[in-house]
């Protein structure tokens, strides 16, 4: 384990991006769980921040605490060997797939 730590620190990459919550109901528990599931596939450390708090992107309890409503912008930070890939996939989940939930516009026409 000790050797691995040294090795990891050499190739540690840190990246961050800002995403906007697009689904009408915001980051409630089900989307938060989806986020945690996806984030947990990566070895990189992942944190998510709103204006007040920075939380562990792999903890459902902490992610549910963000209470990010539709339109909220969140900063996602990843640090580790697969950091960039993690950010790409998480951005896709939040912004392109909007957690497989309707956007406000889609909700109105339902």
């Amino acid at each position: 384990m000790r050797m691995q730590t040294g090795h990891d620190s050499l190739e540690k990459v840190a990246c961050e991006t800002t995403v906007e919550i697009k689904n009408a109901d915001g980051l409630h528990m089900r989307p938060a769980m989806q986020f945690v599931d996806v984030a947990s596939r990566f070895v990189s450390d992942i944190t998510v921040s709103n204006n007040e708090n920075t939380v562990d992107g792999k903890s459902i309890m902490q992610m549910s605490m963000l209470a990010a409503s539709c339109g909220t912008r969140l900063k996602i930070k990843a640090e580790g060997p697969d950091a960039q890939e993690a950010l790409n996939v998480l951005r896709e989940l939040v912004e392109d797939k909007h957690f497989d939930e309707p956007t406000p516009k889609e909700k109105k026409t339902q």
Binding site: A24, G26, H28, I60, Q62, S64, M65, L66, S69
Partner: protein
């Protein structure tokens, strides 16, 4: 948002009789119904909505707590209730461990942001190990109410 803004203290159950997930949901929804928080004739619909939601993914998120919830068109005002079972409840939790404290929340469908704010407060406190421990140890409704009020006043407890 703070606990007194959405928790019905009159309906809290310090020792649940049910020891299984669905039984606990029935007991807590029934208690909210008796406190007239659900509107007439909605008890069964809301119970089923919460159980359905629970089957999609357990809200037993580990560390002995669960937060079953549902949004339902029949609900006019968001309301939550707390139930404890010192013997432990089988809630199909993510960590496969029994649940001792349950916070059940029902929300209207058209106020997603309020629902998020209630969840924010619930999880802010449930994350705190001391809060979880104190909640689990409560033996009366008054103790539960005091704890929730105090947690809001003094987040570090």
């Amino acid at each position: 948002m703070k606990f007194p803004d959405f928790v019905c203290f009159k309906a809290v159950i310090p020792q649940l009789s049910a020891t299984d997930r669905d039984g606990v949901i029935v007991e807590l929804v029934t208690s909210l119904d008796k406190a007239r928080k659900l509107g007439r004739g909605n008890r069964e619909k809301i119970t089923q909505a919460i159980i359905k939601r629970e089957k999609e993914a357990s809200t037993g998120i580990g560390k002995g707590v669960a937060v079953p919830h549902a949004k339902h068109p029949a609900i006019k005002n968001m309301v939550a209730v707390v139930g404890l079972n010192s013997g432990g409840i089988d809630f199909s939790s993510l960590d496969k461990q029994p649940v001792y404290s349950v916070i059940l929340l029902v929300s209207p469908v058209d106020e997603p942001d309020k629902h998020l704010q209630a969840m924010e407060n619930i999880f802010k406190h449930l994350q705190n190990e001391k809060f979880r421990k104190f909640l689990r140890q409560c033996q009366t409704s008054e103790q539960i109410e005091d704890l929730l009020r105090e947690a809001d006043e003094n987040p570090s407890l």
